[in-house]
Amino acid sequence: MQQIIYFFIKNKNFLLFAFLFLIALILTIQSHSYHNSKVISSTNFFSGGIYSARSNVTSYFDLRKENNLLIEENTRLREQLATLKSNIPNPKFEGDILPVFNFTGARVINNNYSKIKNQLTLDKGLKDSLEVDMGVITSKGLVGIINKVSDNYARVQSILNTTSQINAKLKKSNHIGFLTWNTKDPNIVQLIEIPKLAPIAVGDTIVTSGNSSIFPKGILIGTVKDFTVGATDSFTVDVQLFNDMTSLNHVYVIKNLNLLEIENLEKTDDAE
């Protein structure tokens, strides 16, 4: 007994080190194996608070750019509105059209793009009715999907993350593939599994497919920069993003109002 105690006292530094190192190792492995690591996240009030304070200061530096983006977006929306107004069917559609998607504005308070599994932090959370698995976009294009929410903050898994796989398609021909990232350049992502039959050209537009319930159909992503034939007889396309992922500020969070209904329907399908 005495020897055991003596052993512990003699090696207490090593035991402490081994214990703490093991904890860190478990946390690391957990963060690599699950999409939403539960324990360690920047959505707690302490780190979230510090990031908001920081963002309050730094957001002043690019107000001019943000204003330009808003003006661009307003112009585009006004043009769309004008086209829609001139195409209103006659006689008028009776009753209200129920909205399917609800948009909430939020601010990015922490942006990462230099790692291989990048995450962003938003300044809104459960209190603003944000939930896990909601899509995040900017006025220019896709950003990612929320993977953890606390009361006041939300964490977004960026498309610049090797574990992200988002459905996307060629706007012209509706051929569907997956968006992945090869970690090389924060403004270029890869669209894989596009069938070899698809007519594809440099400069073609890539949009979301609308196959998942997370993103509506036709959210802009980027343009074809380059494409090669991959291993499985399908195209691997380099997509130049419309977004500048290195400087994100204001984003929109998309809530699918029919999500519950869709999920219930899919559940009943499985049961039968």
Partner: protein
């Protein structure tokens, strides 16, 4: 440790943490190179101080940085490792009897200082990037990140130690 030492180390802990997460983690020089200045805490923790305490504090510091950067436990693991192995590196860089000679980091020859800082920084960065990237298919990326970030970190740490060497004469 004296009361003054404890206070200085507490201030240094939180100061380095804030500096790292608000400023240095967002430099992204050339797209991916960030310096990790918080290693200064481990480097200049009193050489004769409690080793168990240093290991524990390094773990806390690393874990805090992990919480901010959503990276699991990579900083905690790397920091706790260099904190544990620090006595060995001290012996290697300053000679076996560094504890009795009352070695002070701002009084040793510049070559020995560079050796000591470089070994700790490089070891820390290798563990950090290996665990962060965690895949053998990206081994080039690991080496590249380690190399460039180490150079950046070493330069920044040397500069800040020179800059503050008079004020914090306690180490």
């Amino acid at each position: 440790m004296q009361n003054k030492d404890i206070l200085i180390n507490i201030i240094r802990f939180f100061g380095l943490l804030l500096l790292q997460v608000t400023l240095l983690n967002h430099i992204n020089f050339l797209g991916y190179v960030n310096p990790y200045l918080y290693l200064v805490f481990i480097l200049i923790f009193p050489f004769t101080g409690n080793k168990g305490l240093l290991i524990f504090l390094s773990f806390l510091l690393g874990l805090s940085i992990d919480i901010f950067s959503d990276s699991g436990g990579v900083h905690a693991a790397a920091s706790v490792f260099v904190a544990y192995i620090r006595p060995l590196i001290l012996k290697f860089s300053f000679g076996v009897s560094y504890e009795y000679n009352m070695v002070k980091l701002n009084k040793v020859p510049i070559a020995e200082r560079i050796v000591y800082i470089s070994i700790i920084v490089v070891l820390h960065h290798i563990i950090l990037f290996t665990m962060e990237i965690f895949s053998t298919s990206h081994i080039l990326l690991i080496l590249k990140s380690t190399l460039f970030s180490s150079i950046f970190s070493i330069i920044l740490i040397m500069c800040s130690l020179l800059l503050f060497s008079n004020k914090t004469a306690s180490y």
